[in-house]
Symmetry: C2
Subunit: 180 residues, 2 copies
DNA sequence: AGCGATATATACTGATCCGATATATAAATT
DNA sequence: AATTTATATATCGGATCAGTATATATCGCT
């Protein structure tokens, strides 16, 4: 799913600036769905604007830099619906954390403990934020995907907390064997 | 984590061809950890070879095209360990499936049902394959990450199966209301 | 006082990666 | 015969990223 479609999706729910769109993909409703960077969002909005799929309106602000608010056009809505009807590509995951953990035997135990504890805290922080989010008025798909995100994050946090000590013991035991 | 480091990681466990490295990131041990494409793997192997971090040995085969088997050098091992000690970047997720589901109200219910059922089947297929994988002789980090992948996939499959019908009903109800 | 961090904003750039393609050797399926 | 599948290497134009630059403010630390 290209970043242009992602932007159309965000704008279909309401007008937004490029900055706000980025925020939606960080800690907002799309945070566990799809990543997107400023380096891709702004050129995408520019292309969408050239193609008449969005309309950008510049506004001055007080105490803050000027901003450009984008709204989706009917042409943009049509393009979004077509994209949503296309078969989805495969999910893509890139996790430095998991890659590093795969090679846990290369790391000292205290470093491992720190990494895992930070990740557990991260998950718990996300869960708190997501649980305090009021989804009652949201659309069924939004609620469904939100619930799926909660379920997956919970499972991950629980597994990390339940298995952390064992991994650390095994890695420490492996280090002692090597030292002997 | 760049693709060069990923390749070093795969090769640290044993010699491999570029094709085999790709396979490791598809349905192999790194399947739920990090994605990587041929377009990135081959240039990365070439750069690693130029930098003396891997060694490529060309081999002829019968009934198959020639292949080039890569092995990691000591310099490569050192670079891998340094990369593993660096702070991990943020996980990146890109899921067309979740994005489409977020906008479930735009899709007809039969299409939605098909998408969800295919994904449930995909998860169950992955779980079967992962569960039949013999990890007893693996290193502690490998076992840990494997278990985490299982936990997350199970949670996702269970949530999808448990909530599928409700989503379809709500989307159908929403369509009837719009029609009225 | 100056710097860094934070937040809100837009935009750009060189590096990295992707999806698709090309090519090759085979075998199986339609 | 064409397509699909599997094993292999390699490339290319387009997409995306991480970091940077710039701007308006405020706050915290040295």
């Amino acid at each position: 799913m290209d970043i242009r479609t992602l932007c159309l999706g965000v704008l279909s729910r309401g007008d937004a600036t490029g900055y706000e769109i980025k925020k939606a993909f960080e800690e907002g409703p799309f945070g566990h769905i799809h990543a997107a960077s400023f380096g891709a969002i702004y050129p995408a909005l520019s292309a969408l604007s050239d193609a008449g799929m969005v309309l950008g309106t510049e506004m001055a602000q007080e105490k803050r830099p000027d901003k450009k608010v984008f709204s989706i056009t009917e042409r943009g809505r049509t393009a979004l619906c077509e994209a949503l009807m296309a078969p989805p590509g495969e999910d893509k995951v890139r996790s430095d954390f998991l890659f590093i953990l795969f090679f846990a035997h290369f790391l000292p135990a205290p470093r491992l403990a720190d990494l895992i504890d930070r990740r557990i805290a991260w998950y718990r922080n996300c869960l708190e934020r997501m649980e305090s989010c009021d989804c009652e008025a949201a659309r069924p798909g939004e609620v469904f995907v939100h619930g799926l995100g909660l379920a997956v994050y919970r499972a991950a946090a629980e597994y990390l907390a339940a298995n952390r000590d064992r991994l650390l013991e095994e890695v420490s035991a492996g280090s002692r064997m090597v030292a002997e």
